[in-house]
Symmetry: C2
């Protein structure tokens, strides 16, 4: 097979993200402990996030607004301004969190970039994702960066047509079965799942069964060799 | 001159935006009237927005977070949860505001799209800008959409290289001297200012003097004829 282009997810594929969200969840639960138990808080927050996804999209700013909304709803507006202030602060800290590439990312991307065009394909806040890429030091390895509002088959067709030689000659690699793998396979690309220990509930999905263009890797370190094998 | 591509700003060029922000400012001032006068509120909000721009970027979600922060700071955390709730609601309403193309936009874009490639180039929240474009009914007239975190000369060079035949063969049209015109001229493009009655303070800048590739038009209805004249 001819492979010209590698699409890479960013959050939880190149650097930690869900870990930071989980830490903020923990802080949120502690702040609101006087009003509700962890389970009630988490389920209400998940409900608010899901309801707001259509309006706020993905990313830290929308998540911060959803935390504030949840805090007010769960306490029947009895939450203190001090708590709202701490939620705002938690959101700001998420946006300024240092970005450290995950183990093996740097080497794998260097190897891949010698033979293929690398394209970063990620959801989230536009400015924040650009800032994370710059802070990661990985920016120069990518031929293109596409920050998208949704990852569906059309997204991959469009991005791989624009930045490569079509979806059929592209591999998509990422940690989300639902966003990175299934729609890329549907578009005709190859899909390499690189699991991350935590998965946001919204991103969970079943693995494809006996799919010829799909692989689950142990880590990103295995990606260059797998792509080379596909490319023959 | 050969002109192949027309870049168009979105907010306040194709549809109202600043008007909606001003209405929300007014609502914000009314909500906090018990705590501070209009001038103090506006100047504090402008200060907070400016400070947060690096972190939140452009768009409604960041603006909502800045309103909440300002309300707490200006009242020394004495603001009521009811007010915070109304600020959240105001932000949500901005995100669901119906989108109506400004007068003359539809005809001008139809005329331009017969002869040139149209590219939408806008700042703001990714998902919200995509939603506004879809709601406007203008989406099919554009060959490409670029939602960017900053509009500088490099942005225009990159976008017009990607979607056209380079910045020298492109016209950028928009209402912001600072974001739409000056950096596009610097990149080598032509610039057509289409004034909107309100300008966000952050976007104000002086007009270029005696610049051969710059024009200020009375309305977008004049754009097709001016571009045709440039293109000879």
């Amino acid at each position: 097979m001819t492979i010209t282009t590698i699409g890479l997810d960013a959050d939880d594929t190149l650097w930690h993200n869900e870990t930071i969200f989980r830490l903020t969840h923990k802080r949120f639960v502690e702040l609101l402990a006087p009003y509700a138990d962890e389970q009630a808080l988490e389920s209400k927050l998940a409900e608010t996030e899901k309801r707001n996804l259509r309006l706020y999209g993905y990313g830290v700013k929308g998540f911060t607004l959803s935390m504030i909304e949840t805090a007010m709803e769960l306490t029947q507006d009895k939450v203190s301004i001090g708590v709202i202030k701490q939620i705002l602060a938690a959101g700001r800290e998420m946006l300024t969190e240092p970005v450290e590439p995950l183990p093996g990312v740097d080497l794998a991307l260097h190897q891949l970039s010698e033979r293929y065009r690398l394209v970063l394909i990620t959801k989230g806040d536009l400015l924040h994702q650009e800032q994370k890429l710059a802070a990661s030091g990985l920016g120069d390895l990518f031929a293109a960066v596409e920050i998208v509002s949704e990852k569906d088959a059309d997204t991959y067709r469009r991005v791989f047509a624009r930045h490569g030689s079509g979806a059929e000659q592209a591999v998509m690699a990422g940690n989300s079965m639902r966003s990175d793998i299934l729609p890329a396979l549907e578009a005709g690309s190859w899909g390499a799942l690189i699991p991350y220990p935590l998965v946001w509930a919204h991103e969970a999905a079943d693995a494809p069964v006996d799919h010829g263009r799909y692989v689950e890797l142990g880590s990103i370190a295995e990606l260059p060799a797998w792509v080379d094998k596909v490319a023959g």
